[in-house]
Amino acid sequence: MSVRDFLLTREGLHSWLSRLARDYPLIAPVEEEKGVITFKQVGGPQEIVFDCAPSTLPPKEWFLPSTEELFAFSTAGGGITLQEPPGPKERVLFGLHPCDVRALLALDPVFGGTYPDPYYLGRRKATIIVALSCTKPGPYCFCPAVGGDPVVAAGADLLLTESGSSFAVKAMTSRGEEIIQRYPGHFAPDEEGRGERARQELAGQLAGMFAFLPDLRGVKEFLDGHFELPYWEEVASRCLGCGICTYTCPTCHCFDIFDQSWDGARGLRARCWDSCMFSQFTRMAGGHNPRPTQKERVRNRFLHKLKYHQDRYGLGGCVGCGRCVAKCPVNIDIRRIIGDLKELASHG
Amino acid sequence: MRLAYYPGCSLETSAREYNHSVQLVGRLMGVEFHEIPDWSCCGASAGHTTSRLLALALAARNLALAEEMGLDVVAPCAACYQRLALARHELAANPSLWERVNGITGRPFNGTIRVKSIVEMLLSAGTEKIKSLVVRPLRGLKVAAYYGCLLVRPRAIQIDDAENPQVMEKILRAAGAEVVDWTHKTECCGASLAVSNEEVAIPIISRILKAALAAGANCIACACPLCHFNLDIRQAKAKRFLANYRPLPVLYLTQLLGLAMGQGERELGLEAHFVETRSILKMVG
């Protein structure tokens, strides 16, 4: 069995990252503006933000961009010729926390199901994911409550876990191993299983550090049976109908498609993020809108997170990263929603 | 009030008495004159008719000198006043020309100082100031104030309305004199033609004297050496054209003021005029 655990010193990590940045487009969390951490392409390790809180915006942008050209068309020379944008070159996504990786796994069936989406899947295939275990939960993290594991990031190619002054590296996939082989000098094989121990120890430490872990048990079942709840009315009356929660959520994937052409002779078709919280989201031709008021929209989003995704793909719709909690201007907190639903479920 | 003093060539030579009377009256009124060191010709001679650039450069050099002293400049002679004031006006209106002229003179003039005429200087302290200094009011004098052309033309630098100026009358009334309203205040005095082409100049001069006599004036006040030159020296020749001619002494405004302020006729240089001025002294007493 090939050895899959390695050790990487802090300097080793830095040199490895600068080598990586030369060979691949290296994308990692960067503090673009005070208090705004986003995934951007970096030239080397010095720009990268390593501290543990989840980034302001999820890495979703690199798989489902906020605006993406689907194809361009031109009528020059008679008929219509189409042209698709070039597929992405292979690149490395560094610094994803386990919840972000889990989110990607949640998205895969959406775009990989009966109607495979070439754009998303092309990007997924071209990306080497290097996950970073959490050392300290963010103020609003609650991934354990939704079955998340802050340490192990199943789905990543490589998992780094800080242990003492160096890092335990676990190759989770063959691709991960290839990367290790490509940069032999940096990785020392970890015979004594120090990595494994570090991970358990870290898991143990983290377990008690979550400030607010809602109890999800029984909530989905309750929701299965109760669609009409006056509770949603109260939540909806607070909601502004903006798109923050959906655009900062790593698992939200709704998009709108539109065409752009200036002179009718050439143009492009593109898709861009859309939010179920917008009032026009479900407006149909002829003006009918199955979700006319904010109540339906708020209910729909939470049901999608806590129920529909589970029903459809057998995977949790919420990975507990807490980004929507951090940014909601009127403090609609999914942890509290779960708590309230639990309470409603218990005494009917 | 401290002013840079630009006498000009006439006040050094043919119009010395104007120079003395200006200094005398000025000092009495509390004005400190600081003659501009190394001042040169203001361009009023043939200069400004031959080349505009030459005229501007000549004036600009003097203005630059005055500016170095940091004082506004007063030029009693109407021609000098007009040259300096007009040059400052034209340079301000045309930046590229300004640079070129500064290049020529080698002394940069930045336009921070202003050019004042003798009338403006006298009136700057107000007629009350003049009245307060008058010891011997010019009673009995009927003065025809003669402006000539340079003080009131062109419009950009005129000291008062070009057709019906009243500033000198205001000063003379303050000095106790009676002023007459007459028609040829701003008519041309023949200027340099009096030298080069007398047949043209003399009739012009006679017309001015005729109008002054018709208005009942018994003397003429002016503020320009050239006008004084023509009206005073050429008066003898102009008599021929005038039916009922009476001698009309021609004095500088500042000489009349000097008299009113009790200065002697020697200090004011009254005897230097062709048309004798003793009649004035008798009238004023």
Binding site: E32, E33, K34, G35, V36, T38, T56, L57, S66, T67, P139, Y140, A211, F212, E234, S237, R238, L240, G241, C242, G243, I244, T246, Y247, T248, D256, F258, Q260, A270, C272, W273, S275, F278, S279, Q280, V325, K327, P329, V330, N331, I332, D333, R335, R336 | -
Partner: protein
């Protein structure tokens, strides 16, 4: 506050009281919609009550019953604007005014307060905010924690209120109220351009700034319309800049500088800096007060004066 709410609900004078309730974190509050007297205890008032609640009234425009709403000074300006825009009828609103000593900027507080702590009480002195929590009192220095908009607050006492829950607070005349705007104005053009491009580049077009803004009350916003398509749905610098400039012009003369847009923005775009520039210019050009300060003063761009400044002839 709770007593007033209970009394209003008990006497059926209002059908709803809109106020603040404790949030899921110490430094947050969430809007509370109290319908029954019993729920009045959920209402709180502390230095974290930063939200402007006036805009919620629009949702109850057609309800038969009257609605009570809690307003601070800046919120009262927003309410005046909504009244002037006929979005809310004065007779259907009971205004509970709270003279305000300044509120805390949640983002700054979050750095100081550990997650999960619960607030028992709070008091404000002129130097700092004191928070009583289970683990002792916590002090937040006013200089750091005070919300930016409160530093130049023009109306600490609501301009419009049916009842005032505390005695009036005088407004100190703020010196150099638009210092940051003048700072940006003083930059060379390239720096200003790069500054704003950098910010607008990050805009997600989540429209939180629009949906929270009391001046943005259109039934269907131009940015949602496709025919005519004023601004394309694509998220790029050009369309984002177009969105922000058009919105700035739409709220010009109407924005009450309540700072909610800047607070709501998930990517920290300094939107107040943009809208304040317009407010400053309108004040300097047309000599009007901050919109919403007086019920009788209508938006500046809806009027004109023949002797307005002119630089176009």
């Amino acid at each position: 506050m709770r007593e007033t709410a209970r009394q209003l609900l008990r006497e059926r004078e209002v059908g709803l009281v809109i106020g603040y309730a404790a949030g899921s974190e110490a430094y947050w509050v969430t809007p509370a919609f109290i319908k029954e007297e019993a729920q009045a205890d959920r209402l709180v008032w502390n230095p974290f009550c930063v939200n402007s609640l006036a805009k919620y009234l629009i949702n109850y425009h057609h309800e038969p019953y009257k609605v009570a709403v809690v307003v601070k000074g800046c919120d009262s300006r927003a309410l005046v604007r909504l009244l002037q825009d006929n979005q809310v009828q004065r007779e259907k609103v009971v205004v509970i005014g709270i003279p305000c000593l300044g509120v805390v900027d949640a983002k700054a507080a979050a750095l100081k307060i550990a997650p999960g702590t619960r607030i028992l009480g709070a008091s404000v002195t002129d130097g700092e905010f004191l928070l009583q929590t289970e683990s002792g009192t916590l002090s937040l220095p006013r200089g750091e924690a005070l919300c930016a908009k409160c530093r130049y607050c023009e109306n600490p006492t609501p301009v419009l209120a049916d009842t005032l829950l505390a005695e009036e607070v005088a407004a100190e005349p703020a010196a150099n109220i638009y210092a940051e705007v003048r700072e940006v104005e003083s930059w060379p053009r390239e720096k200003r351009s790069a500054f704003w491009d950098g910010h607008f580049q990050r805009c997600l077009r989540c429209y939180a700034c629009r949906n929270i803004c009391p001046a943005c009350t259109c039934r269907e916003c131009v940015f949602d319309q496709t025919d005519p398509c004023w601004v394309a749905k694509a998220h790029n610098l050009s369309e984002n800049t177009a969105f922000h400039l058009i919105r700035a012009m739409h709220v010009a003369g109407r924005c009450v500088d309540c700072g909610e847009c800047e607070r709501a923005c998930p990517v920290n775009i300094p939107l107040r800096l943009l809208n304040q520039k317009v407010i400053k210019d309108i004040k300097e050009l047309f000599g009007v007060s901050t919109p919403g300060s007086r019920l009788d003063e209508m938006p500046a761009l809806g009027m004109f004066a023949t002797e307005d400044p002119d630089e176009f002839n």
